[in-house]
């Protein structure tokens, strides 16, 4: 049973497993209480979930990166004031304050983590994946980022400087990955398809042309 009062060890972060039906019952009961008391309208819960599953997601961030790749003025504005630059794009999901965009270069690779909880630019990238919130990622990234990158199948040159950003406040970080070679003349839409979620967190690279899905 998943209960902080009657704990047993079921090993590591996981999605629910045998806990599922137990949690389903607990959550349903609590929602019933909250709605019967009139604290919250069930339709409001539905609307939030719908937005999380459809409107917000890494496609918003990918557009920002692709635009920065082809528009030098936007790139400069984005690196100077991320929130202001992105607000001008008119996304479906409006992006909140304190967005800081950091750029990968041949010399420096940026990676974002939240060691204390799960801070993530969800309004630009969608809700964080399980690995971002996991004990494994939160514990290791600030100490052994190359080991973490290895878990993602990414190997950087030994001389590349690694910069880890620990999101310990309400600033939120977006990594602008390097533009893949062989994409001269590509449109913003074509380029956006190469920008993976992981590349905007720093645990991946943008896809090379021909590998985009």
């Amino acid at each position: 049973m998943a209960n902080p009062d009657h704990h047993h060890d079921h090993g590591g972060d996981h999605a629910g497993g045998s806990e599922l039906s137990d949690m389903q019952l607990r959550v349903r009961a609590l929602e019933t209480i909250l709605t019967e008391k009139g604290y919250v309208e069930a339709a409001a819960l539905d609307a939030i979930i719908e937005a999380c599953e459809t409107r917000i997601g890494p496609h918003n961030g990918a557009r920002v990166v692709a635009k920065a790749w082809i528009d030098a003025g936007f790139r400069k504005a984005l690196l100077e004031d991320g929130s202001k630059a992105v607000a001008g794009l008119g996304h479906d999901s409006r992006v909140g304050e304190h967005l800081v965009a950091v750029e990968n270069t041949p010399d420096t690779h940026n990676i974002v983590v939240c060691t204390l909880c799960s801070c993530y630019p969800w309004d630009l990238l969608g809700l964080p994946p399980v690995w971002y919130k996991s004990t494994q990622y939160r514990s290791r990234t600030v100490k052994d980022p190359r080991g973490v990158l290895h878990d993602f199948g990414v190997t950087l040159p030994a001389t590349t400087k690694i910069r880890v950003w620990d999101s310990t406040a309400e600033t939120r970080f977006l990594v602008v990955p390097m533009r893949p070679a062989g994409t001269d003349g590509w449109t913003e839409d074509q380029l956006a398809a190469l920008v993976t979620r992981d590349s905007m967190v720093g645990t991946g690279l943008a896809q090379p042309p021909g590998k985009a899905v």
């Binding site: 998943a2 209960n3 902080p4 704990h7 060890d9 590591g12 972060d13 996981h14 999605a15 629910g16 806990e19 599922l20 949690m23 389903q24 959550v27 609590l30 929602e31 019933t32 209480i33 909250l34 019967e36 008391k37 009139g38 604290y39 339709a43 819960l45 609307a47 939030i48 979930i49 937005a51 999380c52 997601g57 909140g96 304050e97 304190h98 800081v100 060691t115 204390l116 909880c117 309004d123 809700l127 994946p129 399980v130 690995w131 004990t135 939160r138 514990s139 290791r140 600030v142 100490k143 190359r146 878990d151 993602f152 030994a158 400087k161 910069r163 310990t168 406040a169 600033t171 645990t203």
Partner: protein, 219 residues
């Protein structure tokens, strides 16, 4: 508090396991927990810091073993109990047994959804100029508050450099105690990997944290 949530630099958890084609939620109840947490936080004026502190106070063995949304659920349930919005008898019966308690900002309705789908602003007017400037050498204080703080253990006592000034923001340590109006200057402070992890650390590594002014001493 020096809790298990403060896990930067801990060993032994094993490799990161990315999931291909990961869904937004792994079960419908996870989505309900996320939505209930956001709405009840907004309805009763619970700051993000109060909610984080509630999760940090979950028993350590549970914290380490539970899934993300299990942690969210049990922390939210505890806050609802602590603030008198529900009681144990209601949880046992699965229904409301008593009249609703007043919510600080009133019930959360469909029309309120847009305000929780955008991150708020944490900027506040500063009542004094910033103590540090870019390039200043600082040392993270060796402090161990019993309550919520955003100064991770792995930097305490270590020397770094002010890289950016991010503005004057709500101070999480007091916000977690219910006072969301105190604000402090916020800095990006960069540390050399070997300053944090010793001579065997990765020589190419630098790590930054976002540090409130009272977390730092001049060097």
């Amino acid at each position: 508090m020096d809790g298990v949530h403060d896990m930067g630099g801990m060993d032994g958890f094993g490799p990161v396991k990315p999931e291909r084609g990961e869904p937004v939620f792994h079960a419908p109840w996870e989505a309900r927990v996320l939505a209930m947490t956001r709405t009840m936080g907004a309805a009763n004026g619970w700051s993000i810091d109060m909610q984080r502190f509630a999760r940090e106070q979950l028993p350590p063995p549970f914290y380490l073993g539970a899934s993300y949304y299990e942690k969210w659920f049990f922390a939210m349930r505890q806050m609802l109990l602590d603030h008198g919005l529900i009681d144990g008898a209601e949880l046992a019966s699965g229904h409301a047994l008593h009249p609703a308690a007043p919510l600080k900002r009133g019930p959360f309705m469909l029309a309120d959804v847009p305000r929780v789908m955008r991150r708020g602003t944490f900027d506040r007017p500063a009542d004094a100029p910033a103590r540090f400037k870019v390039g200043d050498h600082v040392r993270a204080r060796n402090i161990h508050p019993q309550t919520h703080t955003r100064l991770p253990r792995y930097v305490r006592g270590h020397a770094g450099v002010i890289e950016r000034i991010q503005g004057c923001h709500v101070f999480p340590d007091t916000s977690a105690q219910g006072d969301s109006e105190q604000a402090q200057w916020l800095y990006t402070v960069i540390f050399d990997g070997r300053e944090l992890w010793g001579p065997e650390g990765d020589a190419t590594l630098t790590v930054s944290i976002e540090a409130f002014e009272s977390y730092l001493d001049p060097v």
